[in-house]
Symmetry: C2
Subunit: 577 residues, 2 copies
């Protein structure tokens, strides 16, 4: 019997060999399972147990027993055997109990021989090489994955701009410092950078709301989903702690059970599990102090288990809705806006073309020419500006005056025709989540995508022709980042972004860049507007005006440098391709 037991133990010992290398090679945060050592231990103990058993039972020779002084009679020998067996089993039971976990592992895990090289079937812990990752997570050839540093690489298809080159070498350090200071001020007010993700540990005995608890400043909300499902205990003590607000419960319980009502820490002590559950179901969070855009981390703790969940303190943005009126007349839905400069003849041609199709739509005209115009049209609103104040200043002025839900932007040298169906653009914005939808100017849609890679020293912006995907519900339309200067927009959203009055001369994509994160842009090529001919006018006065105009349409080096510097500072960009 001993032999068999011994053999059993010895067999255990064999399991001690062979768990292959590789596991734990990478080095990690879990201690190596000391497999062979444990098995050796196990074997040693087993052997020891066997030895004790042998000692207790004696060997074939009854010599040791006699040495131990046990005399025997034949009648007593049965009893002795019984005793021996009992003792053996007891000892084995104790040993087995103490080492049961190792035993289970040994029995149930697949044993692996210890070979110098990993056996087939053993998985090494390695990551995909960076090249594979780039292929997996790229869009339009740009690797859209978190990285410390992004790059703008020029190639055949596109150039690249490094924005800090727009500054003089000697100025650059001071500019960088100023930009960093302004950026941090901006971040603080936007509640950025967002805090690191809050991680839940496994096997927490708590239920709690992972996401979605929001409270207005000074308001109170009930916290849903709080539960405690830990082991039974004589007394349960559960603590809740907040920092930007106070906690309470609307369970009606005495102060001996709940302490800290209306404080930052609420403590529940009770031996009644049902009561604990009831109280937890009725915990409230009160945001104290008027604050904006904050996330409070509330912790729920009992003994050594802690769960944490977020409560967002946020004031919802006040809606700014527009009444389309009982008949939904286009006049109450859409205002046309444009800016003009030294091109009064073109403006008038454009206005006349509008009136052919839309006799009563309000047209807002911002004009920074030298001489004010006299426009005899009851539905034109005319604004004058300081001379040459600028392109985007004028655009911003015009949209600032709109009182309808939508605004249609047109340039002063466009030409309405029978394909210029504003109603189609209205339909698209009414039925989708787009903020802006562009049409086509004489077949030219000028769609471009903007892709952004963020990094600490400024983002890398990539501009690519084309679109992201078709627009849901409108198969001939697409979703993109930028379009032509013929578009319908939600007035409220357009005003939220605005046209930067610092851009005085040539500018276009800057508006869409400023709109990233705020505007969802689409394009519907089947809505077409015409463009007036670019051939020079005959009239000498107008020709003189046009000549002056053209000087302002230049894009000088100084102006280009100004715009690059603006991207660097204002938009916190590093470079673009």
């Amino acid at each position: 019997m001993l032999g068999r037991v011994g053999a059993g133990l010895g067999a255990q010992k064999d399991l001690g060999r062979g768990r292959g290398g590789g596991v734990g090679d990478e080095g990690g945060d879990r201690p190596k399972r000391p497999a062979p050592a444990t098995r050796r231990e196990f074997a040693r103990v087993g052997a020891g147990a066997g030895q004790s058993a042998a000692w207790l039972l004696g060997s074939e020779t009854s010599g040791s027993l006699r040495a131990a002084g046990l005399g025997m009679t034949s009648g007593g020998s049965r009893f002795l055997w019984l005793l021996k067996i009992m003792v053996i089993f007891l000892v084995l039971g104790i040993v087995g109990f103490m080492f049961r976990s190792m035993f289970l592992q040994a029995v149930f895990s697949s044993p692996k021989p210890e070979l110098p090289s990993p056996a087939p079937g053993v998985q090494k812990l390695k990551l995909l090489p960076e090249e594979r990752l780039r292929n997996l997570f790229s869009y339009d050839g740009i690797w859209l994955f978190p990285k410390n540093q992004c790059k703008c690489e020029a190639n055949k298809e596109q150039g690249s701009y490094n924005f800090q080159d727009a500054y003089g070498q000697s100025d650059l350090p001071a500019v960088k410092a100023r930009r960093q200071a302004e950026f941090e001020h901006f971040q603080r007010r936007e509640g950025l950078p967002r805090p690191l993700p809050l991680l839940a540990q496994p096997n927490l005995p708590f239920g709690y709301p992972v996401h979605g608890v929001e409270v207005m400043p000074l308001h109170t909300v009930p916290i849903p989903g709080l539960q405690f499902e830990g082991p039974d205990a004589p007394v349960y003590e559960v603590n809740l702690t907040a920092s930007l607000g106070t906690l309470n419960t609307f369970a009606d319980v005495p102060d001996s059970v709940v302490q800290g009502r209306g404080q930052k820490q609420l403590t529940i002590s009770t031996s009644d599990r049902k009561l604990l559950k009831f109280i937890l179901q009725h915990v409230t969070y009160t945001s104290t102090g008027y604050q904006h855009q904050k996330v409070d981390i509330v912790s729920l703790e009992s003994r050594s288990s802690v769960a944490k969940f977020p409560v967002t303190i946020r004031h919802p943005v006040m809606p700014k809705l527009y009444d389309p009126g009982p008949e939904r007349k286009l006049r109450n839905l859409v205002t046309i806006a444009t800016k003009t400069f030294l091109r009064p003849h073109k403006l008038m041609i454009m206005l006349r073309s509008i009136r052919e199709y839309y006799p009563d739509l309000t047209v807002i005209v911002a004009d920074d020419s030298k001489k004010p115009l006299e426009i005899k049209d009851n539905h034109v609103e005319y604004y004058t500006m300081p001379f040459g104040k600028g392109w985007f200043a004028g655009r911003n002025l015009a949209i600032s005056q709109v009182t309808t839900k939508y605004v249609l932007w047109v340039d002063d040298d466009f030409l309405f025709n029978e394909e210029t169906k504003i109603e189609v653009l209205v339909d698209v914005l009414e039925k989708t989540e787009l903020d802006v939808v562009g049409g086509s100017v004489l077949g030219n849609v000028f769609q471009f995508k903007l892709l952004l890679e963020q990094s600490d020293s400024g983002a890398c912006l990539h501009k690519r022709t084309g679109f992201f995907q078709p627009l849901d519900g409108f198969p001939s339309c697409v979703v993109t980042s930028g379009v032509v200067n013929f578009f319908l927009a939600h007035t409220e959203r357009l005003q939220r972004v605005g046209f930067d009055p610092r851009l005085q001369r040539v500018a276009h994509s800057e508006f869409f860049i400023d709109g990233l994160g705020t505007l969802l842009v689409g394009s519907c090529p089947e809505v077409i507007i015409g463009h007036q001919s670019r051939s020079p006018v005959v009239d000498s006065e107008l020709a003189a005006l046009e000549k002056t105009y053209n000087t302002y349409r230049s894009n000088t080096l100084a102006q280009v440098q100004f715009k690059l510097a603006l991207h660097y500072f204002k938009n916190h960009l590093q470079c673009a391709t």
Copy 2:
């Protein structure tokens, strides 16, 4: 010895009495702890053990032993005793091991007797009455707690406005329907209403990110914190499922281990726990399709346990920073803006007062008077508008032209003096998170708080004089919701809210109401501006102008009704006090 052991066991039995009733009285979802029964069992077993011990050891009479057939010699008797004791302990040990949990309960819990009626100390489950809740969670007498319906009650201190009264009875149903349609369109585009909170169940064997995982559209992010700490099993199968994006892992593993790479469902099957851990540490989420402001719920599942966590798809808002320049000249930081109408003399007096203290700050003037002015000042930008276009239209025009970080709003009849320290206001905005900081007009700060109760049929707005709390870092300043028309503001934030050009005549608080959720407003009474006298002018032409002006400053019933209707529709409000 047996006696003592038996007494010990018997003493345990005594502990079986006395634990009070009430536990489990309420009826719940947990089975009653079968306390007394267990103790009787334990006592029985203990007695049994005692009996076996007695049987093994014999009583004082060595009779039973002899019956068992153990003969003894005097030298062997010591050994026998040793053996007996060992056996007793072994048996007790086994018994103790098998019943350890019951034993621990018996020793450590306080026993309670089972009584028919609840004893004192048993907590009934009831909630605080609504009155108590109102007291607990009120601010300025307004109950800031979620409710289905809010109310505006007039009293001695304030009146109340019910906004739908501004509409004719017959129009109201159609207006309500239109407002609801516009509101839903607005909500959709803002990603509202936010989804219900995501609740985590207790004792999930998973680690996962509760909050904070964000990804830009089309980008990929690694998901932090994924863990599986479930029971050992021969094979582990873990599934991850997303809906607005796809999942992958950058662990380099064969397809037999990970399936569904780049799909909406990722399945990991392995018997290697370390490998599972490694893969989970390197899971990625890719947002597919260009979309804004969405929350994807990703689920992590193994066998029957499921954890869910949110991934927010969001494009960060593009910064709009302003370079203050190397010397931080006030001219590069602040632009003054004002609007004027039929009060050119007052405007000129105001301008002259500015120049006394600030000779080179840019002043933007929006003018919707009949005749344009000629202002000989190199740093004044002058804009004309359609006649009587309106107060807020002019304000919106003026701020649309600002190119500096801050804009100082002043009315055209103010008067700068030596206490009008713009630098102090700049300092406040530079060092805090305020978006707007008001000063005092001849000692009048006009601070008011705006409190909002949301409800499905429109929010209830409560306006109260005063402030919320002092401003951190500026003890003489406060945080509030509205101030006078003398304030410094972040240009970018001010433009984001804007002045609604639909408000043509008398209006003030509407701007701050529109700003709720976007603007953080403060007030610093020590920065004072003067106000020109209201006494009528002598000059006849100016007097005529003033007369015309005053007719526009009226607040007729029709105008009041217009503004109430605007609050109803545009701001989706129900009423105000």
